[in-house]
């Protein structure tokens, strides 16, 4: 069992990228405003490659051990298509916030996101040994909501009208998965 490389799924694998590589892709993906607004609540901002690089360089030491940040690369072409992470890891309670974003649009809707989420969940429950995983997703991102539900996350409620974008208000949905729920799904699969 320990022989399995838990960084690898069926379509993607988890990586850690150099600040230079991370800076380049992150700066590039931020220029796709739809992607940025699906992914994050802060106002879209176009930071330079250099700036993002410096954050990646400085942030790594400071944020451990409450942040785990991974690149997502395709197994077939070894192409960096997105990233996934845990932040706010609470070791005493065994909970963490999970996030994922696929910046490369041509990889949307093809199962790469689902695969990456499966990999990161396995990492959460068998390596970080968390008891639960939390995530937030925006009500205007139905594609992501569907994927999370498919993978087994349960809707735990919504922060009403949290987001204001283009003159409309949208809920922020909080979803959670308990370890027992993940174990059951994995064993039945």
């Amino acid at each position: 069992m320990l022989a399995t490389n838990i960084f690898c799924g069926a379509l993607v694998r988890l990586t850690t990228e150099d600040p230079e590589t991370a800076g380049k892709v992150l700066s590039g993906w931020a220029r796709d405003s739809e992607y940025a607004r699906l992914f994050d609540s802060p106002p879209g901002q176009l930071w330079s490659v250099k700036k993002i690089q410096s954050w990646r360089e400085n942030g790594l030491e400071r944020s451990e051990p409450c942040v785990f940040f991974f690149g997502v690369r395709t197994l077939q072409e070894d192409r960096l298509i997105g990233f996934t992470y845990f932040i706010g890891v609470s070791w005493t309670h065994g909970d963490a916030w999970m996030g994922i974003g696929l910046g490369e649009r041509e990889y949307w809707g093809k199962g790469y996101g689902t695969d990456a989420i499966r990999v990161i969940l396995r990492y959460a429950f068998t390596e970080l040994n968390l008891r639960r995983v939390t995530l937030c997703v925006f009500a205007y991102n139905p594609r992501a909501i569907r994927v999370y539900e498919k993978v087994g996350f349960k809707d735990e409620g919504r922060l009403r009208q949290y987001l204001a974008r283009d003159g409309q208000r949208h809920d922020m949905i909080i979803m959670g998965m308990l370890r027992e729920e993940w174990l059951q799904r994995t064993m039945n699969a």
Partner: protein
């Protein structure tokens, strides 16, 4: 309520600034009561020394200045007795403000159990709400309350917050699992309640 109504003076308490000389010792004492820390926060309870608290306060004011997305108030007693007047009883803060969405997080605590259940928390929360909705012009506020903090749940719900999210078994304390509850309050709901009153 208008520009002439004080933002900071309540009935029983007032909101005030940090007193870097006197407050650290008092807050340090509160943090030596694990119940206070555990009612308030999900971080592992750990007492803080007065010197540590002094540093934390300095770092806090610097962070408030630089981040521009949080506001911190001390809660101080209003009293005719000069010994009691302005005595530190708690803190109230607005943080994690996302200005583009007009949202923020509310936190408050009354440090000494002897000062609780006297209406100070309710008084402070009402002042904080007016500050958030009528001075910062925020659209909605959230608060995070552990399931086992019945007092806070009662206070926030009585004030008008609605339970929105229940993070199942998100807390592990004393060998038990507890839910972490998000409550929320919209500016128009706050206006509505005040008009009805």
């Amino acid at each position: 309520m208008d520009i002439h109504t004080s933002l900071y003076e309540g009935c029983l308490i007032r909101l005030g600034p940090i007193d870097h000389e006197k407050d650290p010792a008092i807050v340090s004492k509160w943090t030596h009561d694990a119940e206070y820390l555990r009612l308030l926060d999900t971080n592992p309870a750990r007492p803080v020394s007065p010197a540590e608290m002094k540093k934390k306060y300095e770092a806090l004011e610097k962070e408030i200045e630089e981040s521009k997305n949080q506001f911190y108030f001390t809660i101080r007693l209003r009293s005719d007795d000069p010994e009691q007047n302005d005595r530190l009883v708690g803190f109230a803060k607005l943080c994690e403000i996302e200005w583009n969405h007009g949202v923020g997080l509310v936190m408050l605590g009354i440090g000494d159990p002897g000062d609780r259940r006297k209406g100070y928390g309710a008084d402070a929360l009402n002042l904080l709400l007016r500050y958030a909705f009528a001075e910062l012009n925020l659209f909605r506020l959230s608060a995070l309350i552990p399931e086992y903090n019945a007092g806070a749940l009662r206070l926030f719900q009585k004030t008008g917050f609605i339970e929105e999210v229940r993070r199942r078994q998100a807390l592990n304390r004393d060998g038990r699992f507890w839910d972490l509850i998000h409550v929320g309050f919209l500016q128009n709901e706050w206006h509505g309640l005040r008009e009805a009153a």
